[in-house]
Amino acid sequence: MRRITKYTQGLAFVLLWVTALITIGFLLLIVFFILKEGLPSVNWEFLTAYPRRMGREGGIFPTIIASLYLTLASLVIATPIGIGAAIYLTEYTREGAGTKIIRFATEILAGVPSIIFGLFGFAFLVTFLKLGFSILSGAITLALMLLPTIIRTAEEAIKSVPNSYREGSLALGATKWVTIAKVVIPAALPGIVTGIILGVGRAIGETAAVWLTVGGALRLPISIMDSARPMTLHLYTLAAEGLSLPRAYATASILIICIWIINTVANLLMARFSLKLRA
């Protein structure tokens, strides 16, 4: 009997280790493949020049700006709404029929395919509200997609702030709102920011939802009502319409590097912030 237990222990360890290896392995495989195919075409000119001949030649400068502009705009819309909803759900209501409905709706929203968000954005924002193909239409659509994640992670973060902080603040004569703003939210910030980072990752990588709302014009977006083409849309177009496979890979490489930089910077900021506050 003992021999069997010893073997199962070892077997379990090996299997788990292998699954971790497979996961990381696939990630590395994808990243390395893209970078291998794409990096040779990346140079300073590529990053700063405008596309020529519909993208067959030239650089991808306006698409980089479009991606960043779009992501930032969607976060600016989604973050306050998401955090506000999370605060409302955790601090101002009790678990009941109302919160169950809100939570259910949030869960469903999280599972809706992005192309459907795109169709909704097109029908409602672009056409009905006459916002047209624009960064704004795309940002609002993306914000709707990010909301469930931000609400969920913010809620968890706020719930895990110990009640003793709230009591301590109230016992000093602070009101409920001041307690939330000055003690609870700052304490929940790391968790909230995690949700935002996840949101950034999703927003910058969205293609289907932006395809029908942002338009795809190959120009440098200045106004939020301008149509534009983020990197995801650009690399899809370059590949699908056979315009330039090398440039498609190169765009993908830049996209991956952008995501990597954003995540690293965010993690560094979080680490520094935590260090300042915690033990």
Binding site: S164, Y165, E167, L277
Partner: protein, 251 residues
């Protein structure tokens, strides 16, 4: 001498359960009153009623009055924020905010509108001195409060309280989570603080009650069984239940 706090026919219900029964108690200014009794007897509930911290629980219902400086604390017109500024509370487990030492102490004053840097600095220093913590932390006011030891954290919480310039200090077993040396420091501190503040302390430690308090209240199953000068209650209790508890026949 005028009473500082007076409980008059005070009852408290958690839903249908009556946690406090007809409590009548008079507390004089600048004294230390200790509340003792077995677990679940209502002493913490009573303490929390004095600064209306029980308002945070929805099922709580009260009858009777708690009078602070002549005003009923439970009067609907009472400003609860001002009440909690005047009547501060320290909890059993130290709960410093995840901020720097300075920001912890400055939190209360800032919340009540004080923005002037010089005044805040002065308040922080004065509060830390008052809590016997200044010497230990004066060189690292910007470091995180959570890095302090348990005893230091509790003194920080007391300092945080002093910064809003209260008149009454409520302490709910402030030293029960601390080691004996820190406990001793807190007890010395209470001896100092009573010169300027009215202190009401809940404690499980009868020797502590004997050491630091002027008056002693014995709670049992929601009633205030006996209340009087500490020396008298401890050496010559009038009620059998009090004597049984003090001699350890039940706990």
């Amino acid at each position: 001498m005028d009473l500082k706090v007076k409980a008059q026919q005070f009852n408290l219900y958690y839903g249908n359960f009556q946690a406090l029964k007809e409590i009548n108690m008079e507390i004089f200014p600048k004294t230390v009153t200790a509340l003792i009794g077995p677990s679940g007897c209502g002493k913490s509930t009573f303490l929390r009623s004095l600064n209306r911290m029980n308002d945070l629980i929805d099922t709580v219902r009260i009858e009777g009055r708690i009078i602070l400086d002549g005003n009923n604390v439970y009067d609907p017109k009472t400003d609860v924020v001002a009440l909690r500024k005047k009547v501060g509370m320290v909890f059993q487990k130290p709960n410093p905010f995840p901020m720097s030492i300075y920001d912890n102490i400055a939190y209360g004053p800032r919340v009540h509108g004080i923005k002037d840097k010089l005044r805040l600095n002065e308040l922080v220093e004065r509060s830390l001195i008052g809590a016997a913590l200044w010497d230990e932390v004066k060189d690292r006011l910007q470091s995180p409060a959570l890095r302090l030891s348990g005893g230091q954290q509790q003194r920080l919480c007391i300092a945080r309280l002093l910064a809003v310039e209260p008149e009454v200090l409520l302490m709910d077993e402030p030293a029960s989570a601390l080691d004996p040396i820190s406990t001793g420091k807190i007890e010395d501190l209470i001896g100092e603080l009573k010169k300027n503040y009215t202190i009401i302390i809940v404690t499980h430690n009868m020797q502590q009650a004997a050491r630091i308090s002027d008056h002693l209240g014995f709670f049992l199953l929601g009633s205030l069984v006996e209340y009087g000068l500490t020396e008298k209650v401890m050496t010559n209790p009038e009620r059998k239940e009090t004597e049984d508890y003090l001699t350890g026949r039940f706990g």
